[in-house]
Symmetry: C2
Subunit: 360 residues, 2 copies
């Protein structure tokens, strides 16, 4: 029996998009395939709200985070990382792997970084070459104000401005150019609601300059090689063709709906999730919560038990938390093909689940 | 109109396997998904003929080649690379990217490396830590005798023995343990005949030892992290779920058929391709040709024109060659869901194509 996915990726996928995963393969080094890629590349620019090129890799989201470190830095470079949860921590872990000096802004879990914190960190670490942020810190659901940070960074034009937008791209406003972002990465299995296996990276001219000086550029993720092939509407290595079909159509549908309408629709669904959980006595954990990811703290019930019962008795997968949070925090995602009806069913199942836990 | 794929990957895919690309997603951090992965990991061991763990990445084949360099070496390490074409050259390019000292055995294009060449290279470069080979040098279709090299390397137990088996895994005999290979990499879109997007890497205990000393291990491809999760039948990062479904079933089918039967069947199909092209006056280019990849040299006709006409008039994609070879060499692949009937149709189309070129 299929379990409804209300985790934070992968997602429920529209029938029409799912079906494209079964199309026969094609040879990818043809003018026909390049024409598809040209359209995909253009639609990705719309999604990222940028004139910069957006390339994609066969990789998970973490592959693109790795690429966003190793393409632009060298060992002993200093960077500032906003660390408010697992994905901030992932920036730290990747950077340390490569001998980069990391200055962390430790943000209380569930809170969003303030402009003052960023400003102080930059002043304290004048040699920092880059600032690494996370638009939606998916472990807590906290949203970062990338626009405000972009405004602050006008005073620091040498700093490379990078953001992990893996779970926020598409459903949260993201204006790469207006907000002066240099590197934005994302992945296929969140708002794009196609299967996992594709990662995306958009790069500004300043990022390209950084890349030419990097001593860490990997072979596979080398942005300079990817950009060369991007210019002729190709990819340097064999693309994941079945996922590309799905990406192509999904992007078309988002473009047809219009990004603002798309975002409004998902904001409304997110609001439905939040009023449903509030009516059950829960609260949204994050101070400034991001669209489509709702983290919920509970001390009254065991969060791991809630997740287990929702899956086993109600066939609805919601997301557990890792490590020390597993018993106190769970998360509900409403990415992809989720309707009001699905949210009502989830809320009903959650009500039954806590009833059951009360009586245990 | 669908064009029949007789390139060297991606391939024609069986209907049953294609259909799995449309299955809804599941949450992957569950005992159910781990049970699937456990079976997949076991079947991959059968395919690689090894007791060593075989991990997979969301990546193209080149991603796994990158992983097979950066996991095991450090800058200024010396290695020997068998370079007989584009994929030997790729080992060289990746290694040079990381500051590794590369001693190349330059093998004449279309020929296979001899044991004497390997032996001489090892004696000439006693500090070489690893030997990088390619089972099927897909650019020429030349097969490497990995068994014989394995026997030679018994005398050099410190050398890490690595092979790119991207296009040969499955269709050529490959006995990782018997032949004493330490690292074997492959990808999903050749003999496995599922869409591109998954890469595979099998590692011996000696390879793991090398990995612990490497100063180049990337974050995304870090074999030590992948092995930790492999032990509990999981993956460190989100797997490409739709491709995993397809992999699971395809492996089951190969196991059910039996690897030897599977290889015999593809050898027979390859022989059909070769007798067809011989009856048209062509010759197989490689001295020791590998199964499923037939490179054909032609000076009488323009190879690029042959490829173009086959695609445009006959809806059969065969593989062009790159760079200086584009007008003199083309390649026919018979990976995946290709039947005797398809080979007859290809031969007939090829006959018409050269008739047309004769009259031009």
């Amino acid at each position: 029996m299929h379990k409804k996915l209300m985790i934070v990726g992968p997602t429920e996928i529209e029938e029409e998009i799912l079906a494209l995963g079964s199309k026969p393969q094609v040879y990818m080094r043809t003018p026909e395939f390049s024409a598809r890629l040209q359209k995909i590349f253009a639609n990705l620019q719309y999604l990222f709200q940028t004139k910069n090129p957006v390339v994609f890799f066969a990789s998970s989201g973490t592959g693109t985070l790795d690429a966003a470190i190793n393409n632009f830095l060298s060992p002993t470079d200093e960077i500032i990382v906003v660390n408010g949860g697992s994905f901030g921590q992932r920036w730290v872990d990747i950077a340390l792997r490569y001998g980069i000096i990391v200055h962390e802004i430790k943000v209380e879990f569930g809170k969003s970084v303030t402009i003052q914190q960023i400003s102080e960190a930059i002043q304290k670490h004048p040699n920092a070459k880059a600032l690494y942020t996370t638009l939606d810190e998916t472990s807590s659901g906290a949203l970062t104000d990338l626009a405000a940070i972009g405004t602050l960074l006008k005073q620091y034009p040498d700093i490379l401005y990078v953001s992990d937008c893996v779970s926020a791209l598409g459903v949260e406003p993201l204006k790469m150019d207006e907000w002066r972002l240099d590197v934005v990465v994302s992945a296929s299995q969140k708002a794009l609601a196609i299967p996992p296996g594709l990662g995306f990276m958009a790069v500004s001219p300043k990022a390209v300059e950084f890349a030419t000086k990097s001593k860490l550029r990997s072979f596979y993720f080398d942005i300079l090689e990817h950009l060369k092939d991007h210019q002729r509407n190709q990819t340097p290595f064999t693309p994941a063709v079945s996922l590309v079909y799905q990406l192509e159509r999904r992007l078309e549908k988002i473009v047809n709906e219009g990004l603002e309408n798309f975002q409004k629709r998902y904001f409304a669904l997110t609001e439905e999730v939040r009023s449903a959980i509030k009516s059950l006595g829960f609260e949204v954990f994050a101070e400034h919560p991001a669209s489509c990811v709702t983290a919920i703290k509970t001390t009254q019930y065991d969060a791991a038990e809630i997740v287990r019962i929702m899956s086993q008795k109600h066939n609805i997968e919601i997301a557990p938390s890792g490590g020390s949070l597993q018993h106190t925090l769970f998360r509900i995602g409403n990415f992809g093909n989720i309707t009001s009806q699905d949210i009502k069913a989830m809320a009903q199942a959650l009500a039954q689940t806590i009833e059951e836990l009360k009586h245990d």
